[in-house]
Symmetry: C2
DNA sequence: ACTATTTACTCTGAATTACAGAGTGTCAAG
DNA sequence: CTTGACACTCTGTAATTCAGAGTAAATAGT
C-alpha cells in the first residue's frame, strides 16, 4: 500500500506567535512603524527588534525611511515575497486545521 | 480616544510547527501511536519525544498504555483541556488571519 | 537455542531562538 | 542646558528545538 505523504510543514519563520501577528498586521494594514507594531502587539523593544530583523533578513519585510532631515521614521511592509509566503502559509494552515480560507 | 487593545496572543505551546500538526492530527483522528505520529509527520524519534513530552506536561495530551504482557504500546490523544485549548487556538488564529472558521 | 533485527521509545548535549533590559543618538520642552 | 520622550539597536541569558545515541523487550532467522 502507498504510505500517505507526510503533512506539509509550516513555514518556521512565519509560524511563531509574534511573527504571525506581525505578518497578519502588515497584511491587513499595508504599512506600519516600529511603534505601531510595538503598541499593537504589546511587545518590548528588544523583542520586536529581534523579530523584525529576522523577517527582514528572510526577505519577507522591507523597510523604508521617511524624513531625511527631520527625525527619521521607518515604515515596514511585507515584500512581495513576504506576501506570497504569508499566503501559502495561511493556505497550509487552513488545510492542516481544516478551516475554510 | 480608546487605544485599541493589543492583539490576543497565540498559545505558545500550540503555535509551533510540529505541535500544531500533532494537535491537528489528534483532533481529527482521535488517537495515535508514537509511530503513527512519527511517520505522518516525518520526524526523528528524539524530536517527536520532546514535543510529546511538552504536550503531556502542559496537560494537552494524555497517554494510555495498551498491553501489559505483550509489547506495550502507547496511544496518545488530546485531553479535554487539550481539545478546548486547540479550539480556542484555532479561533484566535482565524480571527488574526481573517479566515472563516 | 542463540544471535540479529526491529520496535518503541528515552536521554543527552549542542545549536538556535526568544526575550528583557540597558544603551545610543536625536529632538523638543522647560 | 538639562530632562524626558522617541526610535530604535545591542548584549546576555534562559528556554527551545532537534538529531543521534542509548535501552529494553519482542520477533525473526539459522
Amino acid at each position: 500500500m502507498a504510505k500517505s505523504s507526510p503533512m506539509l510543514a509550516l513555514d518556521k519563520v512565519l509560524h511563531q506567535p509574534i511573527r504571525t501577528q506581525i505578518a497578519a498586521y502588515l497584511a491587513s494594514r499595508g504599512e506600519a512603524t516600529f511603534t505601531d507594531l510595538k503598541n499593537a502587539l504589546a511587545l518590548t523593544d528588544g523583542n520586536l527588534d529581534a523579530h523584525m530583523k529576522k523577517l527582514v533578513q528572510t526577505g519577507y519585510i522591507v523597510s523604508r525611511k521617511e524624513g531625511e532631515t527631520v527625525r527619521p521614521q521607518t515604515f515596514y511592509a511585507l515584500s512581495s515575497e513576504g506576501k506570497s509566503a504569508f499566503d501559502s502559509y495561511v493556505k497550509a494552515l487552513s488545510s492542516i486545521l481544516g478551516i475554510a480560507s
